[in-house]
Structure formats: C-alpha cells, structure tokens
Amino acid sequence: MLAPVNVSMESLNLMTLAPMLIPIVGALLILVIDLFKSNLDKSLYVMLSILFLLMDFGVLFESAGLFAEGGTIMGVFDVMLIDGLAIIAQFIIVGTSMLFIPLALTNTRFHEFSYPEFFALFLFMISGFQFMVSTDNLILVFVGLETASLALYTLIAMHNRAKSFEAAVKYFTMGALAAGFYSFGSMIFYALTGSVEINQIAAVLEANQYADIGYVLIAVTFMLASFGFKLSLVPFHTWAPDVYEGASAAMAGYMSIVPKIAAFIVVMRLFEFLIHSGVVWLEVILYIFVILTMTISNIWALVQTDVKRMLAYSSISHAGFVMSAVMIGTTQANSALLLYWVLFAFTNLGSFSMLWISRAKNTDNAAESDHSYNKFAGLIKTSPVMASFMGLFMLSLAGIPPFALFWGKLYLISSAVTSGYTVLALIMALNSAIAGYYYLKLIVYMFMKDPVVGKDGHVYTVNSTLSLQVIVGFAAIGTIFAVAFINPLLEFITAFAYNSGY
C-alpha cells in the first residue's frame, strides 16, 4: 500500500523553477499568438523574446539576492539546485541570448526568422540550458541538455541552406552519440553509488574511499567524451567547424558561448570533486585535453581560408584554454572561467555580429565561402568603421590589452600560476601567441590589402540595421571598456563561486 504523498508547497520551493518557466511560457505564448494570427512580423517575436528574457533576468536577480542572503537553495524534491554557479551561468545564458536575439532583425529577409517557431524554439532552448546548470541531478541535466540540443539542431537546420542541413545532421548525429555516452556514464555512476545526484555520488565515493576507482574512471571517461563533444575538446571537436560554417553567423556566435557555458558548469560540478579528492588520472587526462585542444585547434585555425571557420577553431581553442580552469579547480580558476566567458561573450558577440552584418542572402558563386578572408580585403578603405570594429574584436580575441579578453586571459593564467602550473601557464601564453597569427591575418586582410570585392563597401553592410548596429556597438563598448566593469564582476563572481563551494 502506498503511503499518501504528502509534500508541502513550501518544501517544493517552486520559486526555483521560475527562471526556467518564464522562457517556456514565452515560447508557448509565441506559438499561441501564431495560432491566432499568422504572418506577423519578426520584430514582434524578437521583442517578445527580449521581454521574456528580461523578465527572466529580473527573476535571476531575485534569486541572486536570495542566494546572497541565505546560500544555496534547493527545490522541487531537491532536484533543483540554485547555487552561485547556477545563478551566474544563467545570467550569462540569458544575457547572451538577449543580445543575440536582436540579430534576427536583419535588413535582408532570412527564411528562418519568418517562422515564429524559430523564436519559440529559441526560448525552449534557453530554458533547457537553464535546467542544465541549475541542478546536480544527472537526469535533469540530461533532460535539459537534450531539450536544448534538439532545439539547437532544429534552429541550425532552419537556416535552410544545403550547408545548414549538413551541419545540423552532423551535429545531431554526433550529439546522439554523445547522449549515448552520457547515459552510459550516468549508468555506471548509478551502478556504483545508487544515486544520480552529484553530491551524493561524491559522498558515497568518498565514503568507500574510491574502492572501485577503475569503474569510476570508466564512468568519468564516458562523461568526458560526452562533454568533450559539447565543449568541443579535441578529438571530440570535429563537428564544430562544420556546424559553425553551416549555421548562420548569429547562430554560430551563439553556439560558441551559451551551450558551452552550460556544459562547463556541469563539468565543474561533476569533475571538480573528483579532482579535489585526488583522482590524479583525471587531472592528467584533463591536462592533456587542455593542451591538445588549445594547440591543435590553434594550428588548424592558422590555415583556414574562411573567417567563420577560423572563428570556429578559435572558439575551440578558447574552450580548451578555459577548460584548464576546471582542471586547476581553485576558486580563482573557477571565477576566472566565468569571468573569461562573460568577456568572451562580448567579444564573440561582436565578431560574429560583424560577420552577420556582412552576410549576403546568396553566396556569390565566385566566392568559395560566405566569409572568406578575401571578402574582407581592404575593408579599411571601403568601410573604415566596419574595419575598425572588426579589428577591435580580433585584437580582443588575440588577447591584446586592454580589450576584454585580455583580462580574462590574465586572470586565468594567474590562476594557473597561483596553483603552481607553471608549464601550463607558459603553454597558455605561447598558444595565445600562435593564435595571434590568425587573428592578425584578418587584420592584415582588412587593413593592409587592397579591396577585391565591392568597392563601394555596401556588400559589408547589407544586413545592417539599427538594432544590429546597436548590438555591435554594445559589444564594442563592452570590449573596449571591459576594465571598468571587471572589478565588480570579478567580486560578484568570486563571491558566488566561493559561496557555492567552487
């Protein structure tokens, strides 16, 4: 006879669900509106999405306030876990989404934005990521991950070009494999500990002193493979360049930031307790991953001829760079990771938006790809403002001070230094130097060569609208004056990460 279910609303703490529910409600609303009146302009959906995301953002502030006062909040049968990491990650996810969604307001009409489903899926995806980061239950992580991923595959495919489909299929197939890895890994953890809650897994493993270390490692291996895919660590990165190339620039930029931060949060939750309990193997493996990912993707980025593809490799490299924080595992490193990602978001938002602005509806048959380097040749002469902005973002990506990403690099390398990873710090530094080459290559094309296409410069701004310009301007300001907001940001992040035990 089953005991009556007796759960108080109080202990459910439904408030914890609010941030995820808001985008879901928004998505549903958009679908409902479409039911009543179709063929509405995309600007409506964009603004609606922004409104809901703003609300989401506001609720996050509320959660942040609660966390600051009372520490970690659990809810919904202790499945939800609202700690500092979750809050910061959601801030990044929602904030970045807010900045990316206006990119839909292009001058040229693109197929996908005429469907309201696009925006609904977008909002679903956001809530999926939010679930992913605000739980330590492997089931919910899986659900969040897949919700988001499936939405993302569709969004990519909606770009409706041959390459987009190819990209979506590739991404999807590999994602399915990764999902298999993930579930297998979770299964082993479950088999070992009888739990799918990360903190309980940790507690059990701690209690039996890692007696089954071999099996733990196998589980970790599967998890690594799965998240390695999500984070595009070498050799699980192969999808990234193709998907970035196939997806629209706006979507590619989005992908370089949001899915990865969600994955980073899960990885931090999952791996850091292992590292702290002295699983040397994991540390070594992560070390190898970090170095391989940074270096190999850098080397491949050197030889790219397409800017978007180059940026894809560069994103892989940045992910590898940041992955080192997970390996180091100190509060400083984790804060550095989050700080880096915020700054990276600004810079990548800017650079991908620039590509998006210059994206013509139909690729010129003569050009080998949408964003070949040649397209940008002599940009300073035809469109100096564009060139200056693009140059700025490239410099930031290369880590030239005082632009945004430099500070992230600085803090991250410092965390390596502080934890005694001298060689790692040097490798990180040298990789930045290698990376400098391909960013410079674009600058060289823009500033030092003569134009080859569209002497009037119009081709570079076909998509330009006020909202896109605002976004780029916003990204530029964030990139240039990063130093002004780094201190509060750093203090905030450090406090939250520290209070969550990371």
Partner: protein, 514 residues
C-alpha cells in the same frame, strides 16, 4: 594641472585621435600637427615642473581599476622615464611635421597619435599590468604603420614584428603574474604596483626564473641577439615615419624595462646573469656591426646599427653602477635622437629616388651638400664622436661596465671601431665619388619641411653632447636611488659586492671632509 599632467599626456592624443576621425582629410595634417605640438608642450611642462633634485616618483596618480586583483592605474615619472616621454612627444611632433605625402594620410596621423598615447603610457606606467597594457597596445599602431604603408614585404615584416614581440611579452606576462603571486604570498594582498614590488625580496632561485621570464619579453623588444631578426625586416619595410618611431622610442621600451623591472626587482639574478647578458651585448655590438657593414641597403645599415647600439645600452644597464646605468639611459635618449634622425635622412633620399640601395647613389655630397652635411653630423654622432649626444651615453655606459669586467668592455669598445667602419663605408658609398647616375645629377637638396625636422635634431645632438647636465642630472638622481635599492635588496654576497652602495660612498666622502 600638474596633478594630472601625466594622464593628460597619455589620453590627450588618444582623444584627439578619436576626434580626428571627423576632421576632413585635407586638414588632418594641420590638426595632427597642432595636437602633437600641444602634446609636446605638455611634455615640456612636465619637464619644467619636474623637480630634478628628487630621486623618487613625481606627478603620481592612482586610480583603482581592479582592486580585487590588485590592478591599478598608477602613473608617475622619475628621471629615468621623464626624458623618454619628452622624446616621444618630440618625435611624434616632428614626425607629423615632416610627414611626406602618403596615401591615407588621415589614417596615418590618427595612428601616430594613438602610438603617442601608448608610448607615453609605457614610460609613465607604474603598475605592471598597466605597463603591459601599453606595451602590447603599442604594437598595434606600429603593425598598421608597417603593414599599410610599408614596402613589398610589409605584411610579412609587420606580422613578424607583432608576433615575435607578442610572444616574448606573453612569457613576460606569466612572469609578472608569478611576481604578483609571490607578492600576494608575502603580504596577502594582490598588487601589481611596481613600487610595491620593489619592497619584495625574493629568494635567488625565484629571481633567476623570473628574470628569465621578463628577459624574454624585454630581449625581444630591445632586440637582443639572437632575437633581433624581426628588426631589419620591420625597418626595411616600414615607411620612414615608422622606422623613426620604432628606432627612436619603441626599442627603448625594452632597455627601459630592464632598468624599471629586472634590475630593482631581481638584483641577485641580475648580477647572476650579468655576464651572460654582457656577452650577448658584446655579440650584438660586434656581430651586428659586421652585418651592418655587409648591407647593401642604407636603411638596413641604420637598422643593424640600432641593434649594435642597443648592445651598448644593455651593457651599460648591466654595469649595475650609477655611471653605467645613467649612461645607458642617456644613450637611450641619444640613440633615439640620432637613429631617428638617420632614418629621417634615409627617408629624404628614398622620397627622391625611391630606392635605398647604396649602389644607386654615389657622389651625393656634391648634389645635395646640405643633406650630406646633416647626414655627416648624424653619422659622426652615431659613431660616438665626443661633443655629440651619443658619446656621453656610450662613454658612460662603457666606463660603467669597465668596473665589472675589463675584457668584456674591451670587446664592447670595439663598437667604436666597427661602428666607424660600417658608417663611414656607407657614407662613402652614398656621398663620395663621382655622380655616376643620370637620375642623381639633379636631385633637389633637403627642403624646408625636412629641415624642420632635421635641424632641431641636429641642435639637440650637439647641445646635449656639449651640455648634457639638464638631462643627466635628473637621471643621475633617480639612478642613484635605483642602485641603492638594488644594493639594499641584494641577498647574495656576490650581488652585494657587485652593486655599489651609493650612500656608503657619500658617507665616507663626508667623513673625509670632516
């Protein structure tokens, strides 16, 4: 006004550059020049407001940037940095004044003003991160100048210049982070302030590693053998104004940083590495002088001669005594003036003939006597003739190092021989002999605009050669403070004995007086 003069000096040109975007391209030259003149006037005000008798930092400003991580905006000048700042402003001014008609002159002037900001910033920064910010940022305008206005290999040259220096500085950045971490360990506070770091005494083993890390950054910038190969390309391809800025100011960043960072932070390591560094310096001096002799392109001669002279500067820096360090700082300024002038002079002939190959010239002395005279003066300054500015620096640098090692100084002194060899033979090839080429027969002599740049340089060359006191005195006071600091900080007996105490000597001399 004087409270914030350094910030004004740093950010005024940057702001002006931004506003310059709006200025019409026909008026941009006048705009740029007036900004540069104001900037130079400001730098002169800085000089006149500077109290030469004070050895410490002056005009200090401090604003917190990232207090959580100890990064602050701290600027200040002492005798070591003051004159390089003035020189930078001066060169920006005459650089813009003498700018020849190039394409995209607007972009060039905006870039130059940006460059001026970074140059003022590097030498005024008293926070390691701030220093690093300007240090790296200075690469960008230079990259653009070389890459956009340079010769046929300009892209290769500019990327090489950028990446090479960038790589070195990243290693240096790691060193800085370690330094900050050690400071954090010792005090519990993060700080990148150089003056804070000065108070930190590190064990020798740490010093050695950190010295090496900083050395990578500085040595590539200087550039020291064997990291010098970016320089001939950069100079060879850069437009005149680029070479002038590069040689006159940007190279000095490296040697300045040695004095600002390496010596006072790591006195024991500096003494430990004194001889290796000195040997590198000697190689720079002799080897690059010989390479300079083999050149066929007059600009390359001057470029390699820069490396050779930088060797003397490095040597003086590592003399670890007041004479040597003062000399090396003075030589930085001197070399700035002279090499800047020489590059301008090469630019003069390049504008007329669009070639820099010496075999294309010959007999120019009769065609362009004024040009030949000024070139001759600068040549003599370059080979270190007494009563020209270079001699004071070279003499003091070598004199200083003589206390540390006779043999190395003797070898380094070969500079005065090999320097004469390449310079005189280049001069002979260009100016002496019969005019053999038809196109050389009617070359116009230097014009007013060029004289506007060259005459002040010639005056400085002679003036500071005869009367170096106004510059040497503030340098001396600050250097004495640095040497004393190093002496006090040194922990190994070798370092204690290698670095003389300034105060002790003063005491004994006063005792003698009693």
């Amino acid at each position: 006004m004087f409270d914030h003069i350094l910030s004004i000096l740093i950010f005024f040109p940057a702001l002006a550059a931004l506003f310059g975007v709006v200025v019409d391209k026909d008026s941009i030259r006048a705009y740029g020049l007036s900004v540069a003149v104001v900037e130079f006037a400001l730098s002169l005000m800085l000089w006149f407001g500077f109290d030469a008798s004070v050895s410490g930092m002056q005009f200090m400003e401090q604003v917190s940037l990232i207090p959580a991580f100890g990064v602050n905006y701290i600027v200040g000048v002492d005798g070591i940095s003051l004159f390089i700042i003035v020189l930078a402003a001066f060169f920006t001014m005459i650089g813009i004044a003498s700018l020849t008609d190039t394409k995209n002159v607007k972009n060039m002037i905006i870039t130059l003003l940006m460059l001026q900001m970074t140059m003022a910033g590097v030498f005024a920064a008293l926070d390691a991160i701030l220093f690093y910010v300007f240090w790296e940022l200075s690469l960008v305008p230079m990259l653009y100048i070389i890459g956009a206005w340079g010769g046929p290999l300009r892209v290769y040259a500019s990327i090489k210049f950028f990446l090479y220096t960038f790589t070195g500085s990243l290693v240096m950045l790691v060193g800085m982070l370690f330094m900050a971490y050690f400071y954090f360990q010792a005090t519990g506070v993060w700080s990148f302030a150089i003056l804070d770091w000065y108070r930190l005494i590190l064990p020798q083993s740490y010093q050695l590693w950190l010295f090496a890390a900083f050395f990578m950054g500085f040595a590539i910038k200087v550039p020291m053998f064997p990291f010098h190969t970016w320089l001939p390309y950069a100079h060879g391809q850069a437009p005149t104004i680029g070479s002038v800025m590069l040689a006159a100011i940007l190279l000095k960043m490296g040697t300045y940083a040695f004095i600002r960072f390496s010596l006072p932070l790591f006195p024991d390591a500096s003494v430990f590495f004194m001889f290796p560094v000195a040997i590198i310096a000697v190689i720079m001096i002799i080897y690059t002088a010989m390479v300079a002799y083999a050149q066929e392109d007059v600009k390359q001669v001057v470029a390699y001669s820069s490396v050779s002279h930088m060797g003397v500067i490095v040597l003086g820096t590592f003399a670890m005594n007041v004479e040597g360090i003062s000399g090396s700082i003075f030589l930085m300024i001197a070399h700035g003036v002279v090499s800047g002038a020489l590059f301008l002079l090469v630019g003069v002939i390049y504008d007329r003939r669009h070639t820099k190959m010496m075999d294309q010239f010959g007999g120019l002395a009769s065609v362009m006597p004024r040009y030949a005279t000024i070139f001759g003066l600068m040549l003599m300054a370059s080979v270190g003739l007494p009563l020209t500015i270079n001699f004071v620096g070279e003499f003091l640098s070598l004199l200083g190092f003589y206390e540390q090692s006779h043999i190395i100084t003797l070898l380094a002194g070969i500079a005065i021989i090999v320097g004469a060899i390449y310079m005189l033979s280049a001069y002979k090839k260009m100016f002496f002999g019969e005019v053999t080429r038809e196109e050389n027969k009617n070359l116009p002599d230097v014009n007013k605009r060029e004289l506007l740049a060259l005459i002040p340089l010639a005056i400085i060359t002679v003036w500071l050669g005869i009367y170096p006191k106004p510059v040497l005195e503030p340098i001396n006071n600050s250097v004495e403070a640095v040497v004393q600091l190093m002496h006090d900080k040194a922990i190994t007996p070798e370092a204690k004995s290698a670095i003389p105490s300034v105060i002790k000597k003063d005491e004994t001399s006063t005792q003698e007086a009693h």
